[in-house]
Amino acid sequence: MSLRGLVKRFDTTVAVASLDLDVPAGSFYGLLGPNGAGKTTTLSMAVGLLRPDAGQARVLGYDVWADPARAKRLLGVLPDGVRMFDRLSGAELLAYHGLLRGMDPVTVDQRSGELLDVLELGTGNRTLVVDYSAGMKKKIGLACALLHAPRLLVLDEPFEAVDPVSAALIRDILQRYVAGGGTVVFSSHVMAVVERLCTHVAIMAEGVIRLRGTLGSVRGKRSLEDVFVQVVGGRIATGSELAWL
């Protein structure tokens, strides 16, 4: 995935300011940033959910905005803060996504069954997704993104509100996916997960990328958290102000 000069303004605030990002194929790329840094906006523009004011987004060589059909076929997306068609049951939702992608019904059935089984969502479970817990919603969302075996997975906050057991399961699935030749881009502000999973990281703040590279080159000898706080420029210690605490 390569992003060139992406710009997005909302009214007067600039959410993303001329952002360039290259994600090498086969990498496990972590996009870090504090809340409001523009992570979700960037990823939304990269997958065709939000039209950029300027710039270009290419996925495996296809321009997302000029040739959306080709690009979208290779993409799997798990958006954050976006509802799913949650009045369907988990199985129905998977079947919907599969058929929407033009997959053969037999394959859809087989893969959905496996995904529901592996993610422990219950193959015969008729509970509507609207009644799922937050962690289950993330898992079914991930299953929907994986179903058509995309070459690039774009995940927005995949570990938010997920319990440790499910998080471990999701980590395992993603690692297998990358080992099989897939590329993953995900946003997060959980340093521990990023440190454990990623081959590459980029740190974003106020709509621009402040630091990028392989995990080793970004981190150096320090912990990722220290680097992150320093790059973003937040204060990490209090002075005399909160003496009344």
Binding site: P68, P79, F85, A91, L100, T127
Partner: protein
């Protein structure tokens, strides 16, 4: 006061930057002004005529109608203004009394409240002309209290409902029940009107006299009592109104506490169903491909999503009762059927808003605009087609002329198709977000009146667009009986093809913009 400022600030922020919202708000404002002026005029007429009897009937009944309107309209059509949702104040250290008074004050600072106040001030005008300053003063007091009752009743009832319905299942069920009741209101009103036309003045006056003693009419009858020399009745009515107000506020505050606690999600036992995922999703008679999946999802949503199901129920009641009423009272059902057919199409006017940001799934998958729209219409038609047939059959049977059924159906289909032609482009360009809330009655977050106008515009366009069919019906005379069905269907289909082609082109170019429009903020 802070609450009022908050509300005004919310309205102002909602308008900032978006021209179409300003336009809609202004149109809503104009409707409010229209209601205020018309109401004032109607209520003031008895004063100008100098007719105490007319005043005695009109003012309490009209006032009661306004209170009932405040009770039902927010529930049914526009949704209560969510901009001051009590749950948002749950964590602030506010006493409940402060909260109640503040929210009451805030709900008075809106177009509907001000329009109501101006309209009912017409009664003060009338009583001043009929009974002098003393009567006017009593009436003025009544009008102000009446407005408070209106605001309190609408807030209390919605709050109570919202709390009782925190569990999703109970909520879904209640929305449906309410939709049935609300949809039946219209027919009941028509019956009452038909009855009123036959009844003589004395009967109406009797009804008005009774109503003026109920909390509904009491606030608006005080001035009349002064005129009639029953000044002793004023304190009693005052007490009635104050007691009502106190009871409403108490009830509201009792339910508010639970409303502030927010939704408690209860897990429900899940049934085991056999069948593969695809078999579970796709309806048996549909192809197992993208189109089949889209249509099946739409069909399930019309049933499972309460706002959609409620609108289906409202339509089916209105669609059957209106023409039957007209047929029974001797009027021609033909023009009304055009309206009903178009009304069916209006159900889709904010079709993308119903699912909100879930539409992202279709954007990511890159569903072409044509498949998207055709599938949505097909899913809706699964429910509407049987209804249209039922309407044609019922109307034909009631009028005792079964021979006209095919041509009636032709008219309905033509109106439905034309309606779709008008509604589909609107559903793409004029989509707006419905709030993502646990309140089943919430349809809008402020400025709801204005949004409803868009559907109204579509309805108007559809009715105008079907005029040729009406003309053809008149010109062909008896031949219309057999030609009506094929002509109507062909006309409707042609209109649908044109409209959906335009809408599909727009949709293909505007998918991300549409997604942004329907995503609640």
């Amino acid at each position: 006061m802070t609450f009022v400022r908050l509300k005004l600030r919310l309205i102002a922020n909602g308008l900032r930057g978006q021209a179409w919202r300003v336009v809609l708000f202004v149109i809503g404002l104009l409707f409010g002004v229209g209601f205020a002026v018309a109401g004032y005029a109607v209520f003031a007429v008895p004063g100008l005529l100098g007719d105490v009897r007319v005043a005695g009937a009109l003012i309490p009944l009209g006032g009661a109608a306004i209170v009932l309107g405040w009770l039902f309209l927010p529930l049914v059509f526009f949704g209560v203004d969510e901009s001051l949702d009590p749950a948002r104040f749950a964590l602030l250290p506010l006493r409940r009394g402060t909260l109640i008074l503040g929210m009451l004050a805030a709900s008075l600072a809106g177009v509907p409240a001000i329009a109501t106040l101006i309209a009912t001030l017409g009664t003060v005008d009338a009583t001043a002309r009929l009974g002098g300053p003393l009567a006017a003063a009593a009436q003025l007091l009544g009008v102000v209290l009446g407005l408070l009752v209106c605001a309190a009743v609408s807030r209390a009832v919605t709050s109570a409902f919202a709390t009782a319905l925190r569990s999703r299942r109970a909520r879904d069920l209640a929305t449906i029940l309410l939709a049935v009741v609300a949809a039946l209101l219209g027919p009941i009103q028509l019956l009452a009107l038909a009855g009123a036309q036959r009844a003589d003045w004395d009967r109406v006056a009797d009804v008005a006299a009774v109503v003026s003693w109920t909390p509904l009419g009491a606030p608006y009858a005080m001035g009349l009592d002064v005129i009639a020399g029953r000044a002793w009745a004023v304190p009693i009515k005052l007490a009635t109104v104050m007691a009502t107000l106190a009871a409403l506020l108490w009830w509201w505050s009792a339910t508010l506490e639970r409303a502030m606690l927010g939704a408690a999600t209860a897990a429900r036992p899940s049934a085991i169903r056999r069948g593969t995922p695809v078999a579970q999703l796709v309806l048996p008679f549909l192809p197992r491909n993208r189109f089949g999946a889209l249509v099946s999802r739409e069909a399930r949503y019309w049933w499972r999503e309460t706002r959609r199901r409620a609108s289906l129920i409202t339509f089916s009641v209105v669609g059957i009762f209106l023409p039957v009423m007209m047929a029974v009272t001797g009027g021609g059902a033909g023009p009304l059927l055009l309206f009903v057919g178009a009304l069916a199409a209006v159900g889709l006017s904010n079709q993308f808003g119903y699912e909100g940001s879930a539409y992202a799934a279709n954007v990511v998958a890159g569903v072409p605009g044509r498949s998207e729209l055709h599938a949505r219409v097909a899913g809706y038609a699964l429910y509407v087609t049987p209804l249209l047939i039922a309407i044609a059959v019922v109307v034909g049977a009631v009028t005792g002329r079964p021979g006209v059924i095919p041509s009636l159906l032709g008219v309905l289909v033509a109106a439905f198709g034309t309606g779709l032609a008008a509604v589909l482009p609107i559903s793409v360009r004029g989509a707006y977000a419905l709030p993502d809330t646990t309140n089943p009655f919430a349809l809008s977050s402020g400025g709801g009146l204005a949004k409803g106008l868009m559907s109204f515009g579509a309805l108007l366009a559809a009715v105008v667009g079907t005029i040729p069919i009406q003309v053809a019906g008149h010109l062909l005379g008896p031949a219309w009986l057999w030609a009506g069905f094929p002509i109507g269907v062909a006309y409707g289909a042609a209109a649908f093809v044109l409209g959906s082609r335009l809408a599909a082109n727009w949709l293909d170019r505007r998918m991300p913009e549409l997604l942004a429009a329907v995503t609640p903020r």
